[in-house]
Structure formats: C-alpha cells, structure tokens
C-alpha cells in the first residue's frame, strides 16, 4: 500500500523532520514524529531530513511501462529557429553521447522544421548516430500540436529510454504535452544528468525551492524518461567531421500536421540581439542604473565581451528595458560563464535567477550588499566610475 | 503595539492599507518626495481597494465606518509616505462638511464619487491674511439671484488643483465677523475658479498645495452647505472630525521613523557591534516607542469618541492632534540622530520623516491653537 510511515522504534524525536516539512504536517507527540496525512503531500523532504536515522519511509506502488527492457537509446529533441539549430541542441547531444556510451546504446536526434534537412549532418558530427528529420513547410514555426504529435509517434515507434529536450519556451511546452500523451514522467530544468547502470534509470538533478535545494528525480518504472535541460550547463562536443551516422528523412500523413493554433507573426525584440539565456557573458543592471539611457554603458561593456545585457526586476519595473531582459525569479534563469551585476543589491529573487553562473562579478557601492556573498569577484565602488573603466581595460586586453 | 481590539472589518482596512503601503507606496515615496509629482497612480490603487469610502455611509457607496476607520488607513499610509497619505485624508477633510451639513440631495450628488475615489475633495479655509485667525477672512460670497458670486484667494490648500470638489468658506456678511461666514461646494471647472502656483514645501512634497483663486466665480445657490452664517461653526465641527486624522498621520510618521531606526540600529556596526546593543540607543528607542504608543492610544480613543457621536469632542481631538504631532516631531528627530551622519542624507529614509512630521504641528490648527482649545475647554469646564 502506497504511503508514508514513521517507524516509532527508530524515531529519536530529533524534530529535524518537523522543521523541514514544507507543509507543517509533522508534530512531535511523546517525542515521536506524527504525520498529519491531511497536510502531507508526500514531498519526501522529511525522508531526506531523516536519512541518518531512517525512521521515515515512503512506500510507493506504481504502474509500469510494459516491456520496459525493450526501450533503448538516448534521444535529443533538437530545437531550431528559422532553420538554425540552437546551440543548446549541441550541449544536449554532448550529454546524450556521454549517457549513451555508459549505457552502450545509440544517440538519436529528432529535428523538426522546414528547410532543415541539411542540418542533420552537423548533428551527427556533434554526437548523433541517427537523425530523424521531418522537413515540411507546416513545421516552419513551432506549434505545440503537430510537434507533440510527431514526437510522441516517433517515440512509440522506436522506444528510446531517454529523451532530452532543452528547457526553453519551446521545449518545456511541447515535451509537457508529449509526457501526457505517453503517460510517462518528465523532469524539468535539469542541471545534472547521470545514469544508474544497474537499473538503467536516469538520475535527473534539478534545483527546487528557488535554487535553495537540489533534488535528484527518478522515473524507475516508466520509459522513456523525459527531461528538459537548462542551457549552458552541459558540455557540447567539438564537431567530429569523420563521424558517420544515419539520416532518416520521415514523411507523415497530413493529419499529423493539423493544428488548431497558427503563428501569425514572429517579432524579435529590438534590444535582444543576444538572447540572455544563450549568452556566455551577461552584464546586468539594477535600480542604481538610474535610467534607461545609462544602460548604454552596460551595452558597451557587453559589446567588448561579446555578451548580452540583463536587468534586475527593479530596473525592468522602471521600464528601462523590456521584460525579455529580466533575470530572476519572475524573469529568466541564466547560467552564463560570466555574470556581471552592476548596481544590483542581490535580493534573493534576483540571486535565484543567476547564482548558478560560473563566475559572478559584482559592482556595488554598498560593501554589505548581499550580491557580494555570491560573487567570485567584487568591486566596491560607483558603477558610473567603475563600469567605463572596466570597459576600457577589457578593450585593451581582449 | 497594544491590541486595540479592532473589529474584523477594521483589521481588513488596516491590513489592506498596510499592503498598499508596502507594495505600492514605499517603492515610490522617495521619488515623489523629490519630483513633487502628484501620486495619481497610488490614488487609483486606493480607490480600487475601496479605501476612499471607509468613513462614508453605505448608502452613498461607502463602507459605513467613521473617523476611526479613516485614521487606521491614514496611519498605515503615513508610515510609507505622509505626503501621499495626506492626499488621501485631505479628500476626507473636504468631504466632511458635506457629510455633516449637506442636504440629502447634496450628499447624493457628491459623496458617491468621493467614496469611490473617482473625485478627490479639498477643504478651503486658509487665506494669506487669515491663518489661525479664521475671522479675518477676505473671500466674499455675494448673493445675486439664484447664485452666489465668490471673490478672493485661498492659499496653502492641500489637494488644490488636483481635487475636483472643494468646500470653501467665504464671507456672506463681513459686518458679522466670524458669524458672517458661509460654506460652499465649488467644483473644479466652474468659470472664475482657477489655481495659483504649486508651493515648494519642506515636507509632504508628494501632495499638492496651491492657491485657489475666485474671480467673480458664480456658484449656484444650491451649493450653499447648511445656512448662511454657519461657515465658521461648520469649519470648527469639521476640524473636530479631522483632527484625529492628523493625529493618525503623525502616529504613522513616527512609527515609520521608529521602525527604520530600529532596523538601522541592528545593522549599523560601530566598535565591532551593532549599535542596538548600546544602552544609550536602547533607551532612546524605548522612549520613542512608548511615546508613539501613547499618542496612538490617544488618537484612537478620540476617534472612537467622535464616532460614538459624543458632544464636545473638540478638547480631546485637539489633545490627540497636539500630542501625536509633537511626538512625531521628537521621534523623527531622534530617528535622524540614531542614523547619525547617514540620517542627514537624502539617500536614507530618516530625514524625510523629520521633514514630513513638521507640518503636523502646523496645519489644521497650529499646536498653539490646539492648546488654546484645550485651555479654554478646561476653564469652561471648571466654571460649570
């Protein structure tokens, strides 16, 4: 029977579970943990907190994918826009290759779009053994329904054990629908992936609770295991021109392309010349920027470093930059190689959106600003003095 | 804070006003203080939240509360910005003469839009030569057929220029002195009614303060509130209702400054420890907190007395306004002191509270006038 159990003989009444329960569902009665099942959501935080004592267990009884052992191979859903394969696809192929080699299976890439056939070879050079290509004018723009329908159909037919998709606005939309159609598990926004070779399940690690904790998620009994993966965390492989692979050009019945939704127009924002989630370097400004015109200074610095300009919520709320530039809890989560925070105090809502960046540089006049606690490097000073000097200095060395 | 045993409805008003203060007012307070821009966007939020109607009867679209409910909202807003708070409470000051002396018809005409916050109100008494001495009014209203013709200048009028509905005191019979004053409703846009320049003030800079200029301004005779000659009495009765509101504003300013001082004293390190660990600071904070609570208790008690319909509430409402505003001045000055050099800088919040506090000792009757009211009241009572 599914459910949560406290082993009274093991419980030492340490109250760790009480403190950790997100739902206030646990109390100590006679120095033993008691769980209020009306409040408990079986989130397993307490099981984790009790790991040393092992007095709490969640027993799960679940359904299984039939013929689970017949599912083989690691797939990547390749994101393209206007026929251009997005860099995150190469990152996922790099990871897929690593996982597939451990599992001793093949890597396949799924490429949907229009006039994309010729991109298939590059996917092989980047680690794919097979590329499934559906090239059709009806697939020119991303549309949830045909994309999900085709993906689900291919999965049913070829039975991969893993499908990786970018955690982008497209990937998150379409794979969520695929998961429902196949009735399998999907883990969002993974930042680390590995496989357990004994049971061949995917260890999917992702931040939760605003990045305060990391959780490793499994889908033991269902195949394929679907995961969306963040930008800039997986390593792409250098192109290997000698790699050979198979390109499978697919044709589908017209019924696959029907969509109740249509794209009327695609508009790229003026300043988003570099997409902040794809950028290697991000220069962000906060309230201390004082006005929209002052962002020119950050553009200059970003220009030298070939980076993009971001902003804190305060700056976006002032209307200094469009929302597409917002980094943080209600904006975008980014993890560039270098993040330069200019005049951003570092409220937790901002930190959760950028703290997984490789290198964080903070410039702020207040030495006690919380941003310095996550910064690898910091300069205490006036941004209007420091940033132009920094731009000048980088111009000399870069 | 002492538990003042608020009703559930009163708690809702306080909580909602607090939410508006934290989410909408605080982030823009410094900017409005600097730019002197009228806070229309905040007025809209207050209106959408039904707060302009807390003291107005339900049949006119309000929530049916009274002065106490008005005080609760004003106090919360003042914690964030007394300038923005006064835009709110000055509308009530303009509305009270209509509530107190308006006919059913006049109430139906003006109160619903004031309760919804669609139109702001303002009260016009003060003139260049008539401040504390209200009997020296120069503005005249001469009856001509079915209307009155107003001439004269009102100045230092809060919400002047931004309000739509003005309650104005003018002399209908100069020979009778204070007994010759009458009260009128004048709407913005009435021909002959214009505004002077906006005043550049020490504090409450988010609010607008302007001259009202009446140049042969024709006002229909239906706009007379009460009877001719009642103007001065009406003004005094209005102030009896509104003084607890000024007291509440002062309590809010003082509490806001105190909260900032406590927060800062915990952060600020000198001699390797937070300055809040020093007894000298703790004693200052203790006195500040005690005085704020005492003034709150006095303000609440007087507001509740007004709402209970007691007669002769003037002395107590004067005490509330006098004490709370003097406390606000003292507490905000001490808050600046606790902030030290930073307290003197506009980048930190302390000095604004001190500038905002000063006006509460001056307007709606200077504290000297309040003492007169209290003193006279004492003598009268002892003569009974």
């Amino acid at each position: 029977m599914s459910g949560i159990t406290v082993y009274k003989d093991k419980c030492i009444g340490c109250s760790l579970c009480v403190k950790t329960c997100p739902f206030d569902a646990i109390t100590l009665v006679d120095k033993k943990a008691v769980i209020d099942l009306d409040k408990c959501t079986l989130c397993s935080s307490c099981v984790e907190a009790c790991r040393k004592t092992n007095a709490i267990e969640i027993i799960r009884e679940t359904t299984r994918t039939p013929d689970i052992e017949k599912y083989k191979g690691v797939w990547v859903f390749v994101e393209q826009k206007r026929g251009v394969v997005q860099p995150v696809a190469f990152e996922l192929l790099g990871k897929a290759r690593e996982l597939a080699d451990k599992l001793d299976v093949e890597v396949a890439a799924v490429l949907l779009g229009h006039n994309v056939k010729e991109k298939a070879q590059e996917l092989i050079e980047r680690g794919a053994d097979t590329v499934y290509v559906a090239d059709d004018p009806k697939l020119e723009h991303f549309l949830d329904e045909p994309y999900a329908r085709i993906l689900a159909n291919l999965i049913r037919k070829h039975r991969p054990e893993i499908l990786l998709s970018p955690a982008t606005s497209i990937g998150r939309s379409v794979v969520s629908r695929v998961a429902v159609q196949l009735r399998v598990g999907l883990t969002a926004d993974c930042t680390a992936l590995d496989v357990n070779l004994d049971e061949r399940f995917l260890l999917q690690t992702r931040p939760a609770f605003g990045g305060n904790i990391m959780a490793t998620i499994l889908s033991r009994h269902h195949r394929p295991q679907l995961a969306t993966v963040r930008h800039k965390v997986m390593k792409e492989l250098p192109p290997d021109l000698s790699r050979k692979g198979r390109i499978d050009a697919l044709t589908f019945d017209r019924s696959f392309f029907t969509s109740r939704t249509k794209v009327l127009e695609v508009v790229d924002s003026v300043m988003a010349t570099v997409n902040i989630t794809e950028a290697n370097v991000i220069v962000s400004g906060g309230r201390a920027m004082g006005g929209a015109a002052n962002f020119k200074m950050l553009e200059d610095l970003a220009g030298v470093l070939n980076g993009a300009v971001g902003a804190s919520r305060a700056a976006i709320d002032e209307g200094w930059l469009p929302y597409a530039h917002q980094v943080g809890q209600t904006g975008k989560t980014v993890c560039p190689k270098v993040y330069i925070a200019c005049g951003i105090s570092g409220q937790i809502q901002h930190l959760v959106g950028m703290q997984s960046s490789d290198i964080i540089i903070a410039i702020n006049r207040d030495a006690s600003a919380p941003i310095f606690s996550v910064a690898n490097y910091g300069i205490v000073g006036d941004i209007f003095e420091v940033v132009p000097l920094l731009t000048k200095k980088f111009k000399q060395v870069v | 804070m002492i538990d003042y045993l608020l009703t559930e409805e009163q708690q809702m008003i306080r909580d909602l006003a607090r939410q508006i203060t934290d989410e909408k007012i605080r982030p823009v307070a410094a900017e409005h203080d600097k730019s002197e821009k009228f806070p229309w966007e905040i007025m809209k939020v207050m209106a959408q939240s039904d707060l302009f109607g807390v003291y107005i009867e339900q049949k006119y679209g309000g929530l049916g509360g009274g002065v106490f409910e008005l005080c609760l909202a004003t106090e919360e807003f003042s914690k964030g910005c007394a300038g923005i708070a006064i835009c709110y409470s000055a509308s009530a000051l303009g509305a009270y003469p209509i509530i107190l002396f308006g006919t059913e018809e006049q109430k139906q005409k003006y109160l619903p839009s004031i309760a919804k916050g669609e139109r702001l109100a303002a009260f016009g008494l003060t003139e260049p030569a008539a401040g504390s001495d209200a009997s020296a009014l120069q503005t005249t209203a001469v009856k001509q057929g079915d209307h009155y013709v107003l001439n004269g200048v009102k100045h230092f009028i809060t919400n002047g220029g931004d309000a739509e509905i003005y309650t104005i005191i003018a002399m209908t019979d100069k020979t009778k002195g204070a007994r010759g004053a009458s009260l009128f409703v004048v709407e913005k846009g009435t021909p002959g009614f214009s505004f002077g320049k906006k005043e550049d003030k020490l504090g409450i800079r988010a609010s607008s303060t302007r001259e009202l200029i009446f140049d042969n301004c024709k006002v229909p005779k239906e706009n007379l509130l009460g009877k001719e000659g009642m103007g001065f009495i009406a003004a005094m009765k209005t102030f009896d209702m509104s003084r607890p509101g000024i007291g509440a504003q002062a309590v809010g300013i003082a509490q806001g400054a105190l909260d900032e001082a406590v927060k800062y004293s915990k952060q600020r390190k000198q001699f390797d420890r937070s300055i809040s660990t020093f007894q000298g600071i703790q004693w200052m904070l203790a006195d500040m907190a005690t005085e704020v609570e005492a003034s709150r208790a006095l303000v609440y008690a007087s507001a509740r007395e007004v709402d209970a319909g007691k007669k002769n509430v003037g002395v107590h409402s004067a005490m509330a306004k006098l004490y709370a505003s003097d406390v606000a001045m003292k507490v905000t000055t001490d808050a600046v002191q606790i902030f030290g050099g930073y307290g003197y800088m506009k980048e930190y919040p302390a000095e604004k509270y001190m500038r905002d506090a000063k006006i509460t000792q001056i307007y709606e009757g200077t504290n000297q006038i309040q003492r007169n009211i209290i003193g006279l009241g004492l003598i009268k009572e002892s003569a009974r």
Binding site: S44, E48, I58, M214, Y377, V397 | -
Partner: protein, 260 residues
Amino acid sequence: MNVIVCIKQVPDTTEVRIDPVTKNLVREGVKSIINPFDAYAIEEGVRLKEKFGGKVTAVTMGPPQAEMVLREAISLGCDDAILVSDRAFAGSDTLATGYTLSKAVAKIKDYDLIICGKQAIDGDTAQVGPGVAAMLDIPQITYVRKINDVKDGEITAERSTEEGYEVVQTKLPCLITVVKEINTPRLPSLKGKMKAKSAVIQAWKAVDIEAEPDRIGLKGSPTEVWKIFTPPARAQGQIFQGEAQASVDQLVDSLKGLLY
C-alpha cells in the same frame, strides 16, 4: 466568457533558508502565498470578465489549507472557487497533478479559457499547464505576455520567446500560461475581502471528479524524489575596495584565462 484560473499555494521561497548545521531546508515560519505567476493569471481572468462578461472560477489542488489562496482569489475578483483536495492526491507529480486538474476542469465543463501562471516558484517546472491542456486535448499558448483579441471563438495572443515574441492565434476553448509582463495585478478591495470571508468554497474529492485511482497521487506519478541535497556553497569571493582604477586592474588581471 467563462474563465477557469488554476492556482497553487506555495511557500514563499524567498523566505526559505537552509539550516547551516543540518543542511536541511527550514520551512519554520515561512508564509504560504499564491504562486506569484498565478496572480497574473487571476488578474487576466478578471480583466477578461470585466471586458466580456461571464465569470471566473479559481481552482486549486492541494491540502485543505490551500483554501486560503482561493479566498484570496475571490478577494481579487474571482466569482467561484473550487478546492480539489483528497489524501489520495498526496505525492502527485506533474503528470498526476495535470490529470487531477483536468478532471476538475472537465467537471466544471462550461469554460472558454483556462489560465495558468507560467510555472510555480516552488517546483519551477512549467509542466502542469501544458499537461492539463494535453489531458483535455485542447490547444495551448504558453508564456503569453499579452492577449490581443478574443472574438469569434478564437484568441490571439503574444507568446514570449527567448528572442522576443510571436503572435499566435488559436481556437477556444484553450489553455494559456501567462508571464509577469501580461499585467500588474490589482490589490484586493475591501468589498472583495468581505465577500471572500463569507464565500462558500466547494471542496471536491477524488470521487467527485471521477479520477481513476491509478492515475492520481503516488500511484499515478511516474517520477519520484530520490535525493535532496543542498547545493555546494560558493567559496568566499575576492572583493576589491579602494581606488576604482586599481580595483578594475586587479579584477581584469584575475580574469586572465577566463575571458581573454
């Protein structure tokens, strides 16, 4: 136009902290709030109602205390509220949650549009909205930053993308997920708060929505949390103070090999 808004009660993750000794998540004293993105969903639903008439129904799945966010939704302008709550739902992952909510929506039946926040701040998955749409087999527009038009059984909206946005049109009924840019949520009104206090919240259990036992709760959830751990703390950084030029020189020197 009848709108269903799916909302979630979440811990205010900005208040969550890690116990420095045990490394556990400390939730003591952390407030429960409406998921911030759902506040935009509520506001958009209420605005549509104000423009086109109809009503807005707020739905949440969660423990009994999640009723609180439904009352808040009413104070913000929603007309009806439904709490989908049952011990049998405990342990639901996004698949089971999507299923459960879709069954609740199916029971409500009469709707033109479902609005969800783009994601919840505790899980950050963004999977439940599209999941509900897929279960109901209705179209979806995710990451909506603006509704341009609703007429003749169709909705036109701007969908945010990484580069900008696209204008998308689809047939009603459909589901949209919204981003912060779409509106500025109003604060509650006093009249709304009073209505919320006395409102009757319908409570639906698994049997009420005819949910299949195999598809809800733990049993209906293919994914499980295997391990929770605290991310490694960042090492203390190097902070340069003093003269600006000197600080800049030192910083750029330290970045040698990283950026150039």
